[in-house]
Symmetry: C2
Subunit: 707 residues, 2 copies
C-alpha cells in the first residue's frame, strides 16, 4: 500500500511559540474567555494575544482587532467567534503566517443548514493553505509539558496535570473532557490531549500519526467513533507500530443502540464493528470496552517495564481467596498459570510452612509480620517459576507508607537481576506510596482482577508484536488469475475463478443433459453429488437443490430429473444452466470464507466455522484485505469454533495450514479486485485432514455492478 | 425438602452485652492485644473483660484469670490464646454462660498434626453445649452499629466505618480484611461483618441465615470457597429470598488454577463450579466475578430504590460517545434499549435542537449552561419512554457541589411522580455530593459502564424474583415410575425407565435375530434405524454402531449383520443383547440431558445442545434436582445454543415447552433416586417442532453401585 500523501505537521498546534485567541472574552466563564483564563493561570510559557476588535484589553492583556495587527509571529490560533464569523478569522490567520487553528465554535455540520457549507469551506481552506485546522465543534487541545491549555472544557480548570507518556485523542469532546477529569483524579501522567470534533481537517488518524512521531509519547490512547479515511488510519497505525508506540483504542458502536447513538452523534458512516475489531487486531491495537479498561490498559502500556515475553503468569498473594480469584480471571483472559516446580515448592514451604507454594503462591497474612517474605518468595518465583509476568496482591499493605516503601525496595532489588520480567503490584496504597511506585516505574493497581486483565493485555500485545515481527507479506497473486465475472455466474464458473486465484476447489462440471451427467459421473467415479446450477439460486440446499451419495447411472438420471423439478417448483424464474455433477467430497470440517465490501475499509475477509455456527453465534473473524498467512492463522485462532479443527469426537486434526493459505490467497485476490467485487462466499470451504488441503465445495461471486 | 435442624442463634456473637478477651495482651500490635485496643478505641458500648492469669491489668482494664472469675454475665468470648490452650478456654466459657466464642488463634486443621483433633473437639463442644464457635483461624467479626470490632485485622484500625445495610461474610480472613479496607475506602455502609475461617461450627450458611433474619441487613455479601452442607446452604438462601434480602456471592475456583488454589487453601472439597453457578441461579443469587463487581453489585442492591420491573433501559447522557459506550455494555448484559416514541423525540428536539433524542438521549455539554435540561429530559424519558431503569451520565458535573446538589434535587422532584422507577446517576463527584446522594438514597457511580452493569444485575435479579414468584413446584413423580436398574442395562431398558418417569422416548424394541428385526421393522413401518444393543458400548456411533435410513427387509438383514460384525471387531468383550430396531425419528433439534452426582449437591441436572456444542463450547447449564418447569426453562435460556431451538435456516421453532417438562420430570426422578444413580445421559433428546413434543433417542443409566 503506498503511503498517503503527506500533510503538514501538527507541531504548530501542539508546540506553538505564540498563541492568538479569536473571540477572546473578558468573562472567564464564556467559551471565548475560558481558554485565555486557563492559559494565563496554567503558566503557558509563550506570549498570548487576545483578538477582539471591541476591547483594548482582555483579562489584563492587550487585545488586537485581528492577527494581522499583532506585532509578533503567531503560529497557533484558538478560534471561539460565532460560527458565521469563523471562516473570516481563519482566512485572516492563514494570510498572516498562522500554521495551526483550533476552532472551538459549534454550529457547523453537526447542526446542518449553512453550517455544512461553512465547514466545507474550512476544509478547502486547510487544504489550500496548509494551515492545519482542528474542529470545529471541538474541545481543543492540551500540551502538558508546555502547560498549554487550548481548551474550554471545565475539566481542565486548575490544571492539575502531571507530565507523562500517554497522549490522548478523542473524536468526542465530551468524552475527551471526561477523560481529562479521570486522568487528574487518577494522577495519570499525560503528554498531549486533543479532541477532533467535526474533523474538517485534522482527524483521529492525523493525531495518531503525530503522536507516533512524538518522542515523549509512549502510549496513544484514542476514542474513535468512525474512521474517515482508511489509508491514513492504516498508515498512522502502522507508523505507531513501527515506532514502538502502544495504541489503545476505545471504539464504541458494538451494539445496535450504540451504533445508532454514534451515527446520530457524528453523522459519519460507521463500518461494521466486527470489521473494526479485525483492523485493531491486524494492527496490534489494544481495544478497550470500558472506561476502566481504557485507563488501566493505557496505564500499563505506559509503564517502562518490558513487555512480557510469553503468557506464563505467576501470582503472589497474601490471600488464598484473592489468589484464586486472580487465577479465574487469568483463565478468562487466556493467560497460563503453570505451577511452580516441585523442588521450588519445597523451598517455599521451608520459608513458610503454611504457605500455598503452587501458583498462586500464597504468602498468607504472615507477610505483615515478616516483610522479607515478599522478597524471598518473589525471587524464587522469578528464578525457578520462570514466569513472564508476576502479579502480586498485597491487600492494604501500601496504606502504611513504611510497608509500601519496603515492598518497593524489595521489588527493585530483585528486579535488577531479572530485568526482562514484567511485574505488577496490587494493593491499596497511600498517595505517597503511589507516588513512589510511579517514580520507580513499577506498576501499581488497586484491584487485583483489573491488574490481571492489564497483564493479559500486555501479554497479548507482546505476542502480537512477536508474531507480526516476522514478515507476513501477502502471497503473490497467481499469474493466470481470472478477473471477477461481470455478472453473477453459476457456482462452477465461480469456482473456476477461485481455482485460478489459488484456492483448491472440488472437481466438478456442469451437465446440460441426463446423458452428459452420467458421462461426467462415470469419469469422476461414484459416488457423486448433483446440484442445481443456477446463478440465481444462492441457497440451494433450502429448496432441496443438492442430492448427495448418488451411486449409479440410474440414480444420476433420477436425481437430474428431481433437481430440475424442484428448481421449477421453488424458483420458476431462475436461470438454470443445468446440473452440476461433482466428486463426492471426502470427510472434512466445514468452514465459511467470505469477502464483503465495507464502506470504510473496502474489501474485507470473513472467516467462520460452517453449519449453524455463523448463524447461531456470529462466531466470525474479519480482516481487511490483503494479508499474509500469519494473519490468516490469527483469524482462525480467533473463532471459538476453531476447536472443531483440532479434531473432536475422534476426528483427525484438520489442515489448518492449507486453510490459512487459502484465506490469505483469497485476501490477495479480493484486494486486487476490490472495486469489482461486492461479495464472495465460499460455503462450505471443506478443510480436510492435516496434509490433505482444503476444497471449496460451493461458491458465489457477486460483482459490484450487479449488487 | 424438610428444613435442617435449627441451631442456636448467632445473636450472642453479633450482639453481646459483655465481652471477654482470652489471651488479652498489653501489646496492642499482638493478636491478643489488638481486639481489645480496637474495642476500646472504637467505643463499644458494653463492658470488656480481659482474661489473662499473668497480669492484674491489661490496657488499663482489670484482668481476670478466667471467665469464671468475672463478676458479670459474659455472652461473647474472643479467644486469642495459643492453639493448644484454646479448647480449655472454650470449655471454661461454655461452663460459665458464654453463648458465643470467636477463635482467632491459628494452628488447627489448616496445619494438620494435633490441630486436626483439637478442631474436631471444638466442633463437638459446640454441638454439645450449644455455644456457637466462630473459627478457628479466622479474622473475627464486626457489628458496626454497636461499634463492636471483634477482630485483629489491621484493616479495622481507626474504625472509619459507616452504618449501612450490607452485611458481609467471608470464608477467607485475608479476603475479609481486604474487603473491609475497600468498604472504608469507598465509604460503603456496613452492618455486620464476619470471617468464618476453618468453620469448626459457624459456617457461611449459618451467617447467611443470620443475616437473612437481621432487620438491619438488606444485602448479604458473601465470599465462598466451598459449601460444607447443601441442606443448610439451600435453607439459608431460600430464607434470604423469602425475606427479600439480596444475596451477592463471590465464589472463586472457576478455573483449574483457581480451584487448585482454593483446595490447597481450605482443604475443602469443592463441587464443580458450573454446579455452583446453577445453584446461584436457582436461588436468585447475584454472582460477582471481580472485586469491583462484588462491591458495585452490593452497593446497588443495598439501595432503597425499587427493583426494576423489566429490562427496558433508558440512557441519559451529556456525551454521545459515552452514551454509545453505555449502549454497547447494555447489550452485553442483556438489557433492552428501545428508542423514545417519535412524538417524544420531537418534544426533546424542541427542548434542545442539537440533542440526540432517541435513546441514549444526549443532552450534550449544554447541560452545564442550563441545568434544568436534566429535569426536563429526565421527565420525558420516564413519562413517555416508560423505561424501567434510567442510567444518567453527567461527566464531572458532581465535582462542583452546587451543580451536584441541583441534579439531585431535580432527580428527587421527578422521582416523586415515578416512585416505581430505578435510577442510577453516574458522575465524578465531590465527597459532599457523594454524601448527599447517599443520604437521599439515590445510587451514584463513578464509571458509566459499571453503572450499566449494576443496572443489569438489578434487572436480572428483579426478573428472577418475578419468575420465581409464581410457584414453580417440581412436577409429581408418575405413579408407575420404575426404580433405576441395579446394573447398567441396554438403551432400550434405560428408555423404558425414562418413559415410566414421564420422559417421551422413541418407539423401539430389541431384536435378537434378523427375522425378529424384520418383523419389528414392518410393525413400526419403514424407514427404521438399527443400533447395537449393549450395556457396555456407551458411544455407539463412534464404532459405526448406528445405521439409519434402513428402508426394506433386505436392508434390515444386511444392517443387522453389519452391526454384529462391527461390535465383534471394535468391542469384542462387550455383552451384546441384540440389535435395537427403532422408528426413524422425525426431524428435530438434538439436545443433551444428563444427571450427575455432585459431591456437595447430590443429584444435578445438566442440559445442553447436541452435536459438538457441549464438547466444543462447554455450553451447558446445571441445576440441583428437583425443580419445576420454570427453572427448566431458565436452564434452556441460559445456553447460547438455544438459538437453534428458535428455528434457524428455515426450520420451525422447537417444542421448548415439552423440553422444559422433560427436564423437570427427569429432575424429579433424579432427586427421588439420588442415592442410586451415579449418572444418566439422554443423548440425544430430540426436540420436535412446537406442539409435537420431545423424544429420547438414546439413553444410558449408570447406577451408583456400578460406578
Amino acid at each position: 500500500m503506498p503511503p498517503p500523501a503527506a500533510r503538514p505537521s501538527l507541531a504548530p498546534l501542539f508546540d506553538p511559540r505564540a498563541i492568538a485567541i479569536y473571540g477572546a472574552s473578558s468573562d472567564p466563564t464564556k467559551i471565548g474567555g475560558r481558554p485565555l483564563d486557563f492559559l494565563k493561570k496554567s503558566g503557558f510559557d509563550g506570549p498570548l494575544y487576545p483578538i477582539n476588535p471591541k476591547a483594548p484589553q482582555i483579562q489584563g492583556l492587550q487585545a488586537y482587532p485581528a492577527v494581522a495587527a499583532v506585532p509578533d509571529a503567531v503560529d497557533l490560533a484558538i478560534v471561539a467567534v460565532p460560527a458565521p464569523a469563523v471562516l473570516a478569522a481563519l482566512e485572516d490567520c492563514a494570510a498572516h503566517g498562522v500554521r495551526g487553528a483550533v476552532v472551538l465554535s459549534a454550529g457547523f455540520a453537526e447542526v446542518g443548514g449553512p453550517g455544512v457549507a461553512w465547514q466545507e469551506e474550512m476544509s478547502a481552506l486547510a487544504r489550500r493553505t496548509g494551515m492545519r485546522v482542528v474542529g470545529p465543534n471541538c474541545m481543543g487541545l492540551i500540551n502538558v509539558r508546555r502547560r498549554l491549555l487550548g481548551t474550554f472544557t471545565p475539566s481542565a480548570a486548575g490544571f492539575g496535570l502531571v507530565p507523562g507518556r500517554i497522549s490522548v485523542v478523542s473524536q468526542s469532546g465530551a468524552f475527551g473532557g471526561y477523560c481529562l477529569s479521570l486522568i487528574r483524579q487518577r494522577g495519570l501522567g499525560l503528554n498531549l490531549w486533543i479532541t477532533t470534533g467535526n474533523q474538517c481537517d485534522v482527524d483521529v488518524a492525523d493525531c495518531i500519526e503525530h503522536f507516533a512521531l512524538d518522542a515523549e509519547t509512549q502510549v496513544i490512547a484514542g476514542y474513535l467513533e468512525a474512521a474517515a479515511d482508511k489509508e491514513r488510519l492504516f498508515h498512522a497505525l502502522a507508523l505507531a507500530r513501527e515506532r514502538g508506540k502502544r495504541v489503545v483504542i476505545m471504539k464504541v458502536g458494538r451494539s445496535e443502540a450504540g451504533a445508532h447513538a454514534t451515527a446520530s452523534h457524528t453523522a459519519s458512516l460507521a463500518g461494521s464493528d466486527q470489521v473494526y475489531e479485525g483492523v485493531f487486531r491486524q494492527f496490534g491495537v489494544l481495544r478497550a470496552r470500558s472506561i476502566d479498561e481504557f485507563f488501566d490498559t493505557s496505564y500499563a502500556a505506559a509503564s517502562p517495564a518490558p513487555l512480557p515475553q510469553g503468557r506464563r503468569l505467576g501470582v503472589l498473594t497474601v490471600s488464598g481467596g484473592v489468589g484464586a480469584l486472580m487465577a479465574d480471571v487469568a483463565a478468562d483472559v487466556g493467560l497460563d498459570m503453570p505451577p511452580m516446580p516441585e523442588d521450588a515448592q519445597r523451598r517455599l514451604k521451608a520459608l513458610l510452612p503454611f504457605c500455598g507454594p503452587r501458583n498462586p503462591v500464597d504468602m498468607t497474612a504472615q507477610l505483615v509480620n515478616d516483610l522479607t517474605l515478599f522478597e524471598r518468595n518473589f525471587e524464587v518465583m522469578l528464578q525457578e517459576g520462570r514466569y513472564d509476568v508476576i502479579v502480586a496482591f498485597l491487600s492494604s499493605v501500601g496504606q502504611v507508607t513504611e510497608l509500601g516503601r519496603g515492598i518497593l525496595e524489595q521489588l527493585q532489588t530483585v528486579l535488577q537481576r531479572f530485568p526482562d520480567r514484567t511485574v505488577i503490584a496490587t494493593m491499596l496504597a497511600s498517595p505517597e506510596v503511589r507516588q513512589m511506585f510511579e517514580q520507580a516505574g513499577v506498576m501499581l493497581f488497586d484491584e487485583p482482577t483489573r491488574a490481571v486483565r492489564a497483564a493479559g493485555a500486555l501479554v497479548h500485545y507482546g505476542q502480537q508484536l512477536q508474531k507480526r515481527g516476522a514478515a507476513d507479506a501477502p502471497p503473490p497473486l497467481p499469474a493466470g488469475a481470472l478477473p471477477p465475472p461481470a455478472q453473477v455466474v453459476n457456482e462452477v464458473e465461480a469456482k473456476a475463478v477461485l481455482a485460478s486465484a489459488g484456492i483448491p476447489v472440488v472437481q466438478e462440471r456442469v451437465a446440460a443433459s441426463e446423458d452428459e451427467a452420467v458421462r461426467v459421473a462415470q469419469e469422476f467415479g461414484y459416488p457423486v453429488v448433483l446440484k442445481i446450477a443456477s446463478p440465481d439460486i444462492a441457497h440451494k440446499s433450502e429448496i432441496g437443490g443438492v442430492i448427495v451419495g448418488v451411486r449409479d447411472a440410474a440414480q444420476v438420471r433420477a436425481a437430474f430429473r428431481t433437481l430440475r423439478e424442484r428448481a421449477h417448483t421453488h424458483a420458476p424464474a431462475a436461470r438454470i444452466d443445468g446440473v452440476v455433477v461433482a466428486q463426492m467430497a471426502p470427510p472434512g470440517v466445514e468452514t465459511i470464507l467470505g469477502v464483503a465490501h465495507d464502506p470504510v475499509f473496502g474489501a474485507v475477509l470473513m472467516f467462520g466455522m460452517g453449519g449453524v455456527f455463523v448463524e447461531a453465534f456470529q462466531d466470525v473473524a474479519f480482516r481487511v484485505a490483503p494479508f499474509g498467512v500469519a494473519e490468516a492463522r490469527a483469524m482462525i485462532e480467533e473463532v471459538r469454533g476453531k476447536v472443531l479443527l483440532a479434531g473432536v469426537r475422534g476426528q483427525p486434526p484438520a489442515d489448518v495450514q492449507a486453510l490459512a493459505s487459502a484465506i490469505a490467497a483469497l485476501s490477495v485476490y479480493a484486494a486486487q479486485h476490490a472495486d469489482a467485487i461486492e461479495s464472495m462466499d465460499i460455503n462450505p470451504l471443506l478443510v480436510l485432514p492435516r496434509g490433505q488441503g482444503v476444497l471449496a465445495l460451493d461458491a458465489l461471486i457477486v460483482p459490484r455492478s450487479a449488487a
